[in-house]
Point group: C2
Chain length 317, copies 2
């Protein structure tokens, strides 16, 4: 089962699992402000079970959890700004529902293995770079606090109850099927949409350093974490090929696109105060423990993403 299975990373994982011959159930609430999109399962829709249900619905979740071998737990509210405007909804989804899922597993399916999609956001503003898993967690927004709690429920249910689980701390993940309608998942979605539409995009700031994971590499990490008992009870950073400034990223994107324009703007105040500054991951822990590696270069990642949206943009607006 994949929670958030119609979303960006969840659906890419579903495509991979289907090609591997797995019986896949996707749970997704398909609410417009989140990442779920039925187009994301085009080509596999007849080979997966889809349940349009919310992770906050414990009855639905109880039915779904029974009998699953692996639960890829990607359902979440991921917008930092939304978490500040509506902190209680973020809490319901990122804390309460996560605890529900674990309690349901404990009661109805203690044999399941759960891989939780965590986020680099929980580190807050890094005090050193690159950031490894020994960096303190000092979240700067409500989303970061709640994801931190959600992650630790998984770790403790592994340690206390033996519900096998681990967490992947994702950075900006990019690729086909990402949300491009707005910046709720990543600003890069908006850049790509505008570029495909032939419009200029905005770079806020420009000097911030970030790393990017291509979604297929993220999918690899989820599969390795699920299949390997070495991962149980652990947290792993997932990074990418190399860190770049947003301005370099914009240049690379325009280059890959063979054209396009962008404008550098100052950071809006309400975003600035929850911004984390520079970030890039030290992901040696997962490279060593699970033999994960990032296989797709940033250039290639941007190329493939642009190619996808040139073809499918209409389904993502």
């Amino acid at each position: 089962m994949i929670t958030g299975g119609l979303g960006f990373i969840g659906s890419n994982l579903a495509h991979r699992l289907v090609t591997m011959g797995a019986a896949v159930t996707l749970a997704d609430n398909l609410m417009p402000q989140y990442g779920g999109n039925l187009h994301n399962i085009e080509g596999i829709s007849d080979r997966v079970d889809v349940s349009v249900s919310d992770i906050r619905d414990t009855d639905a979740l109880t039915t779904l959890v029974r009998g699953q071998d692996y639960i890829f737990n990607l359902a979440g509210q991921s917008s930092h700004m939304d978490s500040m405007r509506d902190p209680f909804t973020d809490l319901e989804i990122n804390c309460h529902a996560q605890l529900s899922l674990l309690e349901i597993c404990r009661e109805h399916n203690p044999e399941a293995t759960i891989v939780f999609a965590s986020t680099r956001q929980i580190y807050g503003k890094p005090e050193r770079l690159p950031v490894n898993e020994n960096h303190l967690l000092r979240p700067v927004d409500v989303n970061g606090v709640n994801k931190m709690a959600g992650e630790w429920y998984h770790i403790l249910y592994n340690n206390v109850y033996g519900i096998r689980g681990c967490a992947l701390r994702l950075t900006n993940t990019i690729g086909p099927r990402m949300r491009v309608k707005d910046a709720r998942q990543t600003f890069l979605g908006v850049w790509i949409r505008l570029l495909v539409e032939g419009k200029p995009f905005e770079v806020w700031g420009g000097e911030q350093v970030r790393d990017f994971t291509y979604v297929d590499d993220a999918v690899d990490a989820f599969l390795l974490a699920a299949a390997n008992d070495e991962a149980n009870g652990k947290v792993f950073n997932i990074g990418g090929e190399r860190p770049v400034t947003l301005r370099e990223l914009a240049e690379l994107l325009v280059d890959v696109n063979n054209g396009g324009e962008y404008e550098v703007k100052t950071f809006p105040a309400d975003r600035k105060r929850i911004d984390i500054g520079d970030y890039y991951a030290d992901d040696n822990k997962i490279r060593k423990a699970l033999k994960w590696t990032s296989r797709v270069s940033l250039r290639e990642a941007l190329q493939r993403t642009l190619a996808y949206y040139r073809k499918h943009l209409a389904h993502y607006l």
Copy 2:
């Protein structure tokens, strides 16, 4: 205002504030499983406003929060075992209600200063001793996860919205007005009750190392943290005179009591799996930043506590 104001530390703080001439409001739900006890304000009950209300009741909280200069936020579910048996109640109190309090402050009283009662439990099993504030947070029970989130809401509302706040990570706090009915606050409560009743008490394990703060010293820390803008946005460990093993503590207690018996037992399995092993705090950060110091020795702390319960035990059963 003191949330959890009829509880152990809250009521000791109330006594101090009343002697300092402050106008004090105490909010407490007085639910039997928590620490609230009307006897705790004997002697000052005509000089404080008491609101029997729950921190989960946002309407009541909104009324209470308006106009307060300082909010000492001590309302919480503190039993580790209860948090495992009923994780959702722990979440409601230690996460949701904390976020509510902060949202209410943001809307109705952004000038308030909040001091949050956090706990050493959020560190989990220490990887080095003594534990300073740079130690990773790796909670081992639901209570620890939720208190970690509750603490960080306070820090981020300070940093993002300027709602002045800080957190004190308390260790075992002891003294008059502590809960002695059961081990929900600390095992030491039960030891003291049994000793005063002339019955043998049980020491589980015995070799675990712990530190203890006398409640008057904890009250000092709350007042210093509230009065000093240096504290805003920070977390501080509070420790005590010196670490001791539980067996040494038992010996000291029997010595101070001029008699008494105890039995060393093996740790029950359900507690063992959420036990944190040895812990004692490095509290130099608050000693330097706020000039806090622990003034009451462990022997003196036990003496005063025993003296209190010899006189008042009936009100705590």
